[in-house]
Amino acid sequence: MAERKVMSLPEAVERFVQDGDTVYCGYLMLPMALVMELVRQRKRHLELVGASLVYQATMLVLAGCADRVRTGYIQGALRPGSITERMADGRLRFEDYSNQGIALMLMAGALGIPFIPTRSFLGTDYLAPENQHHTGHYPGYRKWQEMESPFDGQKAVLLPALRPDVTIMHAQRADEEGNIQWWGHKGDARWAFWAARRLIVTVEEIVPSDAVRSDPDRTAVPASRVAAVVHCPYGAHPSGVAGFYDFDYRFVGEVLAPALDSDAAFAAFRGEWIDACPTHDAYLERVKARYGPDALDVLKAEPHRPLLPVDYGFAPWFNLPVREDIP
């Protein structure tokens, strides 16, 4: 009997995210329902990784769930009282790379190789002697190593492989076995699927396995790499999902972004939008209560289907001409 992969949001987070885990938390279709569940379950000492982290990561830092970050970019850094203060008083350890750097590190993690070279970072202050080592949380490990290629002498920077303990993602659909399908822009998430030890994915739809297997180009990662699938419509709100809904910039501008300005603002946001909402459905109801019953409907995407269907057809074997000279 196959392992049961489809489960509730609380069960997935409870079973597959542990305090202290390194967590890849999305790039574009943000796993917001999963992020809010991490807050609800009061996960602690998480390390957040990803090429460019936006409000999902800042939320987890302000919620006290995460105390380490490795990224090329963090949104909200300029807002008062968040990232800089926490770095200054030691509550947050921050390691900066670049988008390409993190994506390469995830690829190395996925391939099982120990490190990977890049031509980025040469000549920059990332490589200044005082920035060569992590700020304390990976004792003994260098952050990178500059070297000349043994093959042609070209200068390069070696980056260590990155293997998240858990990758949390949102995607368009999955089947009950756990095969994940997605489309649209993929950022660094393609390799984050493959680099993770455990993978939790919320999806807009659970579809029959026949549907998945009829269009395998759409599959991001096979079921064998997936720990949990959660059926969670609007699980990326207020970010967007191609074919389903667009970004909710009104909510981001009026509710979420101001909540990242201070601990007090975040506490108020958390009380109203996370702690008072025991489920993601309750959160969505609150969005509708604030912005009207059609608040989510207006975000819905208009259909935009390919002009030509994709055809994976083949000629039946028994119709093929036989080569008599093969024994």
Binding site: L28, Y73, S98, N99, R119, L122, D125, H185, S239, D246
Partner: protein, 258 residues
Amino acid sequence: MVSGFTPGELMVTAAAREIRDGDVVFVGMRLPLVAFSLAKLTHAPNAFGLFENGLLRASPSPEFLYTMSDTPNIVGASMCTSLLNVMALLGRGRVDLGFIGGAEVDRYGNVNSSYIGPRQRPRAKLPGSGGAGDIASLAKRLLIIMAHERHRLRTAVDYVTSPGFLGGGAQREQAGLPAGGPKTLVTTLGVFDFDPRTREAVLRSYHPGASLDELRAATGWPLRVAADVGETVPPSSADLTLIRRLDPDGIWTRGGAR
């Protein structure tokens, strides 16, 4: 009839003019989103746009974009792929022009978007490189967009996130970086080129309404001015009509509310 224009509209026009027809352009965020579309619709119909989220576009987005990751940017793209595919074009020298912004720039086009103050004890943590450091390292031509203020155009930046010509001369090449580097610096007051020998920023034009004295006062290094310096050519009324169609609420070009 269109009359008058904002600094944002002028900068978008100046940035768009740096895009040549047929260029492969690493577009980035904010103003460049509008500049790329403007260039496509005017003098560079064959420019090809790359977005680091993995989108490759031969046509402008059908809708206004707050960010490159808005779902309309997917519709009509030539390819939807991942960040590393776009970086593959960059790494192999297939990107003609890249746009970046930042908090500080020095006269050699080194850009800081990481820290104000020392890294180990910063006064402010900035958002970081994103793809800017990769673009600055690997694009053939780099266009830097910056608000022109004395505390931003500095003799030395606090942290080199995105390499320009480092200390000038041949230092960029000596560090192992591919040829390329900063081509143009567009600020709220003027447009700079980089001296091909010393690699210093040289003022090519000042924007209408800005004076050389104002530029000197707002520049943290001794301003070098091209012998044939002139006024930045303002956007035409056709440019302005297009910009206002591309950015109807003025989010990126007229300081509109988000």
